[in-house]
Amino acid sequence: MSTIPEGIDDGKSNEFGIADNSESQDQRNKDLALIESVRFRQDFDAKTTSKKAIVTVPVRKPDKKWFIRVHPNPDWQVELALMEEGRDQYIVTPAVYDEVADVTKPSLVYTAITSTGNVFFWPVNLPREDDLQNSWTESAQRAASRAKEHWIRVSPNWTFKSYDLFEAQGRIVPPVWPEMGFAGLFKIAFAGRIIDNRDHPVMKRLRGE
């Protein structure tokens, strides 16, 4: 068992014959072309893809830990009268505005996106006629304007009663806005949250009914 019978390769022979003549080169090219012709593409993303579906669009102030951008197009912002009810923001239409003006805030609502790709509406209060100098509102407006071109983070400064603004250093990718556009986002954000008549449950509650 341990001796190698005659005729068996003893491992001492050399079979080095590195081919490099033109004939073998031609054969080699044919072989490479043949193999190339049976190659499967690996574009799995083109064959089956999933896309993140947007099912909620919060209406809120940005968290102080978020870096955000604001959509620079004025078509992606809107002036609204908003009423805060619980955790939700309701649109108050002119039909009922006068009745609830004291609990309603005129706001400029911006479309914003976080650095991790989450879209939200950022309502920034507009100054009232009787509220000539509100440092919270002014600093928030300044931040929103700045966020149209830069990644920023806003954090409340209670000493100065305004928002501090931090600009990201070294961020390199532009935001990717959802394809559905402003109207689509708006529908999701305010579905069922429009107060347009006196019989709306929120109106009834405010009247104590």
């Binding site: 390769d9 590195i18 499967f40 690996q42 799995f44």
Partner: protein, 574 residues
Amino acid sequence: MNTLSRFREIWSVDFEFVSTPGERPLPVCMVAKEVRSGRIFKLWQDALLSRSEAPFSIDDDCLFICFYAPAEISCFLALGWKVPKNVLDLFTEYRNMTNGLYLFCGRGLLGALIYFGLQAMEAVEKDAMRDLVLKGGPWNEEERTAILDYCTSDVEALEKLLPKMLPDIDLPRALLRGRYMVAVARIEHYGVPIDTESLFILQENWERIQDPLIKTVEFPYQTFEGRTFKRKRWDHFLTRYGIPWPRLESGELDLSDEAFRQVSLLYPIIAPMREVRATLGRLRLSELTVGKDGRNRAMLSPFGATTGRNTPSSKRFIFGPARWIRMLIRPQPGFGLAYIDYCQQEFGIAAALSQDSSMIEAYKSGDPYIRFAIQARAAPEGATKQTHKAVRNLYKEVALAVNYGLTAYGLSKKVGKTEIEAAELLRHHKEVYERFWQWSDGVVDYGLLKGHLYSTFGWNRFYVGDVNPRSIRNFPMQANGAEMLHLACIFGTEAGIRVVAPVHDAVLIEFPIDATEDAVSAMQRAMSDASRLVLDGFELRTEATLFMHPDRYVDEAGERMWNTIWDIVRGLDS
């Protein structure tokens, strides 16, 4: 059988042979049957040895069918016969049809027969016949008949299996896999040249080496009690040196070799301890299978991993145990060795397959990891491996980790950063390589939705039951890395280059010293061709390290341990 109509003859072949660890096989008998005509050859050892070639045609218009081709082809090579042009290995194809599925009867021939609803020989009967062959003879007439009948039954089993499997066999790619199996047979046939004199000295003194070895490397760790590694003492050492360490879910230190490997990348002080642990823990020098011709041969187990990579024995294969053991590799007089590896193979594959222009730019820069750090603005333009070593190592870990879909938590453990810092690093990767992420997410979607992925040359991976998206994400890099090395080995061996070992993303080749340049450049060209084929024209760089007799193979990571051990050996009897 229409798929096979282009073949004039289809030969179903099986050898019985004696296999001694480290040696080439010794053929005992062969049965070959032509599937259409029923012509059959039954040759006993003496008849085989008297032939200079196979008794049937192995030309381009004939097909050779077998189950686990390296076994049959290694017999061809041992007999000095030319090898068949077209090999259809039903083992590989069965493996490819079921990769990722639970096989209740295993990957062998019996398992395949049962899987396809065919009658199979009893496993006990098969084992008994195998034992009879392996006893190595001499065999009496009755035993010879029994062995030949057994060999014939395997050939007939292949005949039955073929029509069952054929509808699902993707022939052009199956034949390519067959070519790789032939390459594997050649590689195993050559074997890796070993400095047997040194191996003998180490084997003889191994018991006496271990205690002094612990003493030598114990400072600064102070971790061993006798030959036992003490977890608590290791914890103290880490605390003393302020080294963060991965932990298990239980909170205990993760003492796996992988944990040592990862931390040693960032903290080189860990590396010697990793080698000592591997040396003391796993190493059985006697299990390294070295033939009488001084060459290490071990089954490479091609397509053993779900990714299609080889899974050679970690004990028997010279590239398996601790790194310093590799320094036993030494070219024979008049010969040289070259270790040729793909540079940053996984990164390059990810760049090319995803077509991420920033990633491609990073790969083409020559040092993708420092380029990634620069692209992420973690290092200034002009930074190099030398000027920003720590940052580069960190970004290298991130680049490799994302291929595995590592989470911020996982990455934080790996690189010794907080979870928030790790999340930031991952964010850098996502921002810099946005297209890669789009593609990679597509891979995961496809794998989850279809329950199936495949490589460029059709290596399948099925996903059933509880699927891990991370393994799906990583599959294209691993499976196509495997395809690349398969092609490189095919091209190399078929061009007459003596490839003696495939090593993950590298090959070790052997050549006469006066043919060094030809051999190395031919192998590098084979590897370039392979990368272009797998990556649709994108070429990966290769790097060659040469070792000429009388020098031995040097492994950077194992050299220190090698020297330490030989210092001990020299001091044993003084």
